[in-house]
Amino acid sequence: MVSLVLVSHSLPLAASIANLIQHIVKEDVNIAIAARVDDPEHPWGTDVIKIQQAIKSVYSDDGVVVLMDLGSAVLSAEMAIARFSESEDIINPLQWQQSG
């Protein structure tokens, strides 16, 4: 089954969406969250490395759909995906285009 990665500026937002999906979908969906940055005062943001780890954590041959909230989350997710094709990782960039 296709897995999901939720990329958000806000951890509570992503957690709530993951929660809702798990309630609605009958089967178990693999969902990973990549949200917020490590700054207690200003936690809102996205982290390329966290997104990359999230994708890796739920990756299967069926693919992963990466969903983003706002502007910079898109740039961060695109860079995270690009980093897979630059590294000697499991993922073929063509598969990404098909699954993304």
Binding site: G45, V48, M79
Partner: protein, 211 residues
């Protein structure tokens, strides 16, 4: 030649300049964006400052790659992947190098600029950091053909960046959150172009001081 030490000084000074201008950059961003450019850049570059001592004896490529990796995991906003890509592409030009020729420094900035264009898909006059970086790289490249010194070339680059930064004031933003404002984005200087200008002024300062 530009030494490894000068590159370290550049990054270190840039972190300090970002800290000094944190409120100013955030103020510019408050007018047309989400009021976090100074906060985000400062969080990223403070982490860069902390990491810098761990690569102090490494080649320039490793130093710049470390800057890139730190920024993409700490900045949080769009400037994370954008500056992260700038330094990543720049690091490839400086791989294994302990010093850079003038030509290599021009190539380094050119590669960084191309990375930002690729990542952000922005064009000139979209009211982004490209408006400062692109004319700066053009001016620097032009100075190569005039046989200018590094300092002369970078001074021309900084002048072009400053002009490009100021030219963003009347522009209507076509990228990022500022683009949602349409015509209301007119009359404000772009925060990304401003931080890019500051990055080049600190590079000039670092190169001038040890030459």
């Amino acid at each position: 030649m530009i030494s490894q030490q000068q590159i370290i000084n550049w990054i270190d000074n840039f972190a300090a300049v970002i800290a000094e201008n944190k409120d100013y950059l955030t103020e510019l961003d408050a007018a047309i964006g989400d009021a976090d450019h100074g906060i985000n850049m400062n969080r990223g570059f403070q982490k860069v400052s902390e990491k810098l001592p761990t690569v102090i004896d490494k080649d320039i490529g490793t130093i710049l790659k470390t800057v890139s990796m730190t920024l993409i995991s700490t900045v949080g906003g769009a400037s994370g992947p954008l500056y992260g890509t700038f330094f990543l592409k720049a690091s490839a030009v400086a791989a294994q190098k302990e010093e850079l020729t003038l030509e290599e420094l021009v190539q380094l900035l050119q590669a960084g600029l191309e990375g930002v264009i690729y990542r952000g898909k922005a064009e000139l006059e979209d009211k982004t950091m490209i408006d400062a970086l692109s004319p700066a790289v053009d001016a620097f490249q032009q100075s190569l053909t005039n046989n200018d010194s590094v300092v002369e070339g970078l001074q021309k680059a900084v002048n072009a960046a400053e002009e490009g930064m100021k030219k963003t004031i009347p522009l209507i933003a076509r990228k990022g959150r500022a683009s949602y404002l349409g015509e209301r984005s007119m009359g404000h200087q772009d925060p990304g172009a401003t931080s890019s200008y500051l990055m080049l002024t600190t590079l000039l300062k670092a190169v001038r001081e040890e030459n």
